[in-house]
Subunit: 232 residues, 2 copies
């Protein structure tokens, strides 16, 4: 008669799968999950990033935790949430791929917002590897610093979108820029490329983003940049 304990409820396998499905039925939860696939964050930051009230965000996170797709870590008075493993990111990626493939609306929206501008001209991962090795391009990580620190392409420069103009001088004008961000649905890199181009630079987006890079088993670096930033 154990009816209140959270883990069990329906005992069929499909009821269990639906527990996870529940996570992706709400737009904000998908957004949260995508953020958590980039880096861990405290509740407050997640609420701010998604435009949710603190209590609402917390409630959503509880749902996700019950489904075991996120885990937490406490640090003082703060609780850091993170994706509970590679399968989680793979699942979100599969969801995104499916949506892009089947829902014309998605591509449409991406186009309208301008994210699709680089669609035909994205750099493949293997091309990037070759050209970066040859010193022909510089790689730009335009995500927020905490995501960069949680994992980035080795050798990439962290330059969050909001500092792009201010720190433009750091980039050699004669070398092409390849920007990347969270993934195909993320607008950061396309926006960066647009701005770089209007500043007269050569710039392109990388195909996909960090999760896909990781998934391709390519090397990932963590922590701050060696050359700049306080190593705190």
């Amino acid at each position: 008669m154990d009816k209140r304990s959270e883990p069990a409820k329906g005992d069929g396998v499909y009821e269990q799968l639906a527990r996870i499905g529940k996570v992706v039925v709400h737009p904000k939860r998908i957004e949260l999950l995508e953020l958590l696939c980039q880096a861990e964050r405290p509740v407050e930051a997640l609420a701010a990033a998604t435009g949710l009230k603190l209590t609402t965000a917390s409630a959503h996170l509880q749902v996700m935790r019950q489904a075991r797709v996120v885990e937490t870590r406490r640090e003082g008075t703060r609780v850091y949430y993170r994706a509970a493993g590679g399968e989680v990111c793979r699942f979100v990626t599969a969801l995104g791929d499916l949506a892009r493939a089947r829902l014309a609306e998605v591509e449409q929206i991406l186009r309208e917002i301008g994210a699709a501008d680089g669609g035909a001209e994205r750099v493949t991962r293997s091309e990037l590897l070759a050209r970066v090795r040859a010193g022909e391009v510089v790689v730009l990580d335009v995500r927020p610093p905490e995501e960069y620190e949680a994992g980035h392409i080795p050798g990439a420069v962290s330059l969050p979108l909001e500092h792009l103009e201010a720190r433009l001088f750091e980039l050699d004008p004669d070398i092409e820029v390849v920007a990347y961000c969270r993934g195909p649905l993320c607008l950061l890199a396309p926006e960066a490329v647009a701005r770089l181009r209007s500043a007269g630079r050569r710039a392109r987006c990388l195909e996909d983003g960090m999760p896909e890079w990781r998934e391709a088993r390519l090397p990932v670096a963590t922590g701050g940049e060696a050359s700049k930033g306080s190593p705190r």
Copy 2:
């Protein structure tokens, strides 16, 4: 003011993803989707297979259709539903993988029902390929005939679980049997293996099932068997 038309509703990208998420929030819809990843079927068959009333099944299928994860084909008075593409199956697979990885309950349930019995002793796809080439094993497709016809491992014998005992004589007792079914969550192959063993045969399950085989880009045959069954 266009508020009733189905495709648009929320226009953010995440609202669109949630349209698809909605499909997997209900256990029965996941079950339907998994069936549809194996073969197309008319509504009535789907209702029967999942234990739903016709109208309820139809309602679920409408939801899935709105999300564009299934497509239909009309044949006389019957409407055949099918998964809307490879991304759909990939998505369901990712969901299953995630559930197995994160929800201990799933493995637990599978074990209880007996599906996990072959866990440690499943045959990998590459091993199967090698041994079947060497003529050391016979491959058994224990799914319903319509699923076999929609796509099976080349050379596999169709022997639906319910006919296993009746047609046991067709199998050479001296050669090992490798059975496969829909995937890691499907109970057909494990059950078949259990029965074969209790009949004194050597038998094992293939890892995963048909969708994963397909996903691995291995060859897939369609239609009935060359040797038996009307070729209609």
